[in-house]
Symmetry: C2
Subunit: 428 residues, 2 copies
Amino acid sequence: MTAPLRIGVAGLGTVGAGVLRILQTHGPLIAARAGRSIEVVAVSARDRSRDRGVPLEAYAWESDPVALARHPDIDVIVELMGGHEGAAKDALEAAIASGKDVVTANKALLAHHGQALALAAEEAGRVIRFEAAVAGGIPVIKALTEGMAGNQMTRVMGVMNGTCNYILTRMESAGLPYEEVFEEARQLGYLEADPRLDVDGIDAGHKLSLLASIAFGTQVDFDHVDLEGIGSITIEDIRRAADMGFRIKLLGVAQMTGRGLEQRMQPCLVPATSPLGQLQGGTNMVVLEGDAVGQIVLRGPGAGAGPTASAVLSDLVDIARGNRLPTFGQPAMTLTRARPAQAAVPAPYYLRLQLVDKPGALAKVARVLGDSGISIDRMRQYGHEDGTAPVLIVTHKTTRIALDEAMAAFPATAVVAGDPVALRIEAV
Amino acid sequence: MTAPLRIGVAGLGTVGAGVLRILQTHGPLIAARAGRSIEVVAVSARDRSRDRGVPLEAYAWESDPVALARHPDIDVIVELMGGHEGAAKDALEAAIASGKDVVTANKALLAHHGQALALAAEEAGRVIRFEAAVAGGIPVIKALTEGMAGNQMTRVMGVMNGTCNYILTRMESAGLPYEEVFEEARQLGYLEADPRLDVDGIDAGHKLSLLASIAFGTQVDFDHVDLEGIGSITIEDIRRAADMGFRIKLLGVAQMTGRGLEQRMQPCLVPATSPLGQLQGGTNMVVLEGDAVGQIVLRGPGAGAGPTASAVLSDLVDIARGNRLPTFGQPAMTLTRARPAQAAVPAPYYLRLQLVDKPGALAKVARVLGDSGISIDRMRQYGHEDGTAPVLIVTHKTTRIALDEAMAAFPATAVVAGDPVALRIEAV
């Protein structure tokens, strides 16, 4: 095991440069830990002339990532290009076909093609590692795949898009509307080139689908992640939720139910005093629940050059040490196709509606809820403005189906103005 | 890799029974993840007749753990007996000498003999794994040794004795004095047979010394952990600290300084709103800080059959998968002997003293502090009772040496009654 591990890095954005920087500054430290040195043989990126703040002279340059992936003197390809089709996918497939291990930060690619890639890698006797793809610097893939390997997992959840959490906490702390904070985030460079990846929950949904696969031994199934973004969250709901002791988070939850695998990525209310409720700004948090261990909470930076490079290095050191395991923790051919379940797990809900100022209005709303089998845990009515009054309701546990039925019946009462807001309250 | 991994379990207390229960109920799940089944061949404990709630008929019984360790049909010895001398040590040494890997939850043994045991194991080509020895079910050894392998670690810290955290939070929530809550904890069975292991910080100090070794590539050096227990913490200090926005935690901190390795296990003040400050009851929390990743916080159950068994299973699945690495993350012969540093890292301090009701009293105290180079960040004086008044002082950063100098000079002022209390405020 004294031969160096030879790597090629495809993609030299901030993370790629971060990986090179760590290898350049911590070479002896990493060699001591890995039992061998990790040597960069070649790199690849679109623009050769750009200054990336790290010297590149020592590395061969491949303008084509697929050529890099086929380079004969490389053991591991580190793929940091991103994108779920095109060059990244081609490079990964070429790397596996030419007998290389793969380390990637590409959640989109794995969410869409993880099963096929894992099968190909395992057939070729190669590994695909992706610690950097989920929750940045937090070693959550390792914690789940290895640290909790003795557990039947019961639920995994997390706040895994720092930009959304930044927007929501900033709306609360500055009292600003969504649109304004969204614009701020754009100017700060926090948003993806296509911001829907962030605010529609797609990026976080990719991550959730990867965690669900490992946790439940199922094939990645991003298509059945129930996605709901944060675009409709108002400063009013953030404040009203706070009045009731909650914070609103874009929370991903995956759990195996009697009816199948439920995967949700949606704005939820969580108790303001809980670890998830306390999470501010761009920090990520993942909660792993298993039958033996109970609840493990991991918190850390979800993005950025240093944290993401740290996760890439964790995978590289593992490969250098000879720690090899199937992509999703068990052989891809043994992963089952889970039946997708939607809205299977009941929960309490937060409801906000504008009640018209008429006698008996509240009773009518309560009756509609009761007719759908929904009972009320707590209710708060505020003063009237312009002929309507905000009413907040926290229900007892109910299903989304029952709730939608009740909401569909509100208009007929003629006492509910506008569209009511309904948000799930997740027990954390 | 289709041959089963054959194990022997030495020690059948709650954790040992928990390990057997997981293997009995999750056999196929674990085999799918590990790539092979994990089979218990033999067990060993003091009392064969005791009912442990799990069937034992399928396993050979060895009354002598050393005989178990030498059993020819066993690949891994799981040592759950505890104690840093005697049977546990003998069994581990015998296991290594007879070519077996070792999984242990024994922090005391590793804190005292970790370096010698690691050397012996590595010479024999065997591994010692101890995820269960630190912070129960939290996969912190894995996160540090593997997940952060690309980082120069800057600081590791944690609340790693659930009993002490239970006592401190219960004192605050119920307003009860230490002695009463200590007695409660004893009756609840939370305390070790020798409670000094808990309340004097010895158990948590063992754990800290293991984390420090991995983090800084140094030989375990428990003898130089600066230990201070919670026995002198009063309900008054808990309340006064809360007035200033802090909570008191038995916090272990290890960091490499210009003067050497500093390891402290002592009651500290942390901001009440920080993750450490929010930690209630018996839960553990470990904070890992590295130069690339920044800060990672891990939270979970620090004790109990299920969580501890979960950690043992993590080690067993690693060994079954062929994931082998040196005990402390790099070969034991490459670990350096760190120069021990005490009180090298300056910090703000919380000071509480009883001021005699005399003109100019406060000025005299302030002058004594100033003479030792200590400046005051915040101060609060309460009303006089019985001729003295409590004064709380939060200093700017200073060293423990300067503070001790000032405290030694207080008596000469004749305005400070009794012994002042000084507690470090750790930046978290």
